[in-house]
Symmetry: C2
Subunit: 306 residues, 2 copies
């Protein structure tokens, strides 16, 4: 079962020739979730060979243009491509008003329903759920209401060791009981504990997207043990006063957050265009958190089953 994120854009507010505004696509079991949607997102989806019609839902962190300007063109293209299935858009208010105004002024009659799902940016809520995944909002500290998102595979059903079932010739009722966590007594009077014969097939995987935000110590508690963490790091450590003033983080702060959250890997991005050599920024984070990587456009980061 796939669990991977592809970076479509990771510039800060000022894009450059080859760094575009924020957008990422998360593929969980071939269901696609778009996270933020800066200008040109549809073009980069096409370049990556991802059909926009495969997008299940869209998660918008906040209503700054560099995270949303690509949304209306994408909505329009989905309509021209013949989308009929509902599209859920998770975003803070007043996204609903913006959408209504947009429909009023622009001539886009979409052939599919768009459902607005409000994200309360000060709360840590379960906002989305399907068979395999849950998504939680993560309160962030930016200069306008802003939410991160934690994507978590659901805890998987317990499996039972097949060799035990065969050896003891267990019936269905016994297997079900063991999987439920109950112990059983076999016809031979043997006590079989659930713990001794069952296992979790693999650990549920998780991805947290945290942009845009100042350093927030509380955040670490909400994403404990996350497999992959994207945390904005607009500025180098030396510019931390500027980071605070503008509602952003430094490389070192992102790394500290990853450390405190017990994250397995850290992706850095949303770098200010002022830094021409981004490897210096990554190295700065690595001094604090070794497994830090740049969220480079076009790169895919997969979380393997373990």
């Amino acid at each position: 079962m796939t669990f991977k994120v592809t970076i479509l854009g990771s510039s800060a507010a000022m894009p450059t020739v080859d760094k575009h505004h924020s957008a990422q696509i998360l593929n969980v079991s071939e269901q696609f979730y778009l996270i933020d949607c800066g200008e040109g997102t549809q073009n980069r989806l096409m370049k990556m060979g991802i059909n926009p019609l495969k997008i299940n839902s869209i998660f918008i962190s906040h209503l700054h243009g560099d995270h949303i300007y690509g949304l209306f063109p994408l909505i329009s293209t989905m309509s021209l491509m013949g989308r009929r299935t509902k599209l859920k858009i998770f975003a803070p208010r007043p996204f609903d008003e913006i959408m209504e105004n947009h429909k009023r002024y622009f001539d886009i009659g979409t052939g599919y329903e768009i459902e607005f799902c409000e994200v309360r940016t000060r709360e840590n809520n379960l906002i989305f759920e399907n068979k395999v995944m849950e998504v939680y909002s993560l309160p962030l500290r930016h200069n306008i209401p802003c939410s991160g998102f934690l994507f978590k595979e659901k805890t998987l059903p317990i499996n039972i060791r097949k060799d035990i079932v065969d050896r003891l010739q267990l019936g269905i009722a016994q297997v079900v009981a063991l999987k439920r966590g109950e112990d059983i007594i076999t016809e031979d009077g043997e006590c079989i504990t659930s713990e001794s014969v069952t296992y979790i097939p693999y650990q549920p995987r998780s991805y947290a997207y945290c942009a845009d935000t100042q350093y927030s110590a509380k955040l670490a508690g909400l994403i404990q043990g996350v497999d992959l963490l994207f945390h904005e790091s607009t500025f180098a450590d030396i510019d931390k006063a500027l980071a605070k003033r503008t509602g952003h983080s430094t490389t070192t702060q992102a790394a500290k957050l990853a450390l405190n959250a017990g994250a397995k890997r850290l992706l850095l991005g949303h770098f200010s265009a002022r830094y021409s050599d981004t490897s210096l920024l990554v190295n700065e984070a690595r001094d604090v958190f070794k497994d830090s990587f740049e969220a480079k456009e076009g790169h895919t980061f997969e979380i393997q089953r373990y």
Copy 2:
């Protein structure tokens, strides 16, 4: 003196991997005028090495997303780049309302003034003028209010032949009179006609941008003798019923318009994504109007002095 247009995007409403929404940049004497502004325009400006701060004014033909979605990101970037000079935006109403709403919902305090200049889409008006150029609105026939634009160099001052001035030792007053079109009598009693000694240094050049529109016979009269004509040709000749229904033109209609307008060259674009081989579309136009060319992205079409 430069007079050239660079194609930044020329797809129809459905973009493809390498065909972007409508945008062109006209360079007249190193003053830059942006015509329409589809998604990703700022990126393609950067790719062409054109500094967005050099843009003098923006001309928006109509309020369909594929002609305007790149405008707000561009406005934002200009602000981040430190623009201080006023930006004029020519567009049909209710662009002013859209702009106001945008400012209200998005956090873009621009450091420069944006002046909205209404384009009345049913009128053929002089809407812009500076020392070297005039711009006229051109009523088009689309399914929402839509205007084309005619960019015309101003008629240049008459020059006087330097050999005549030297031979006859003409004074300033005599030169001024001849340049004004008056005849003079020299001290030797010789009559010098203005016509015989003056000349126009070169013909004023012109460019007409006509998208989106159905075929409009009247349009030819408004752009007579234009040097370079961009006329949308969304559809092939065989799809003319569809063109009419959707407020667009065919290749053959664009060519017929160029012929009737006495245009020197025709640029074709805004091709529907349904046609994979665009050379067939260009050839269709060439059967009617020989000097037809595809408005390919990244290509520049210069009008030489003559």
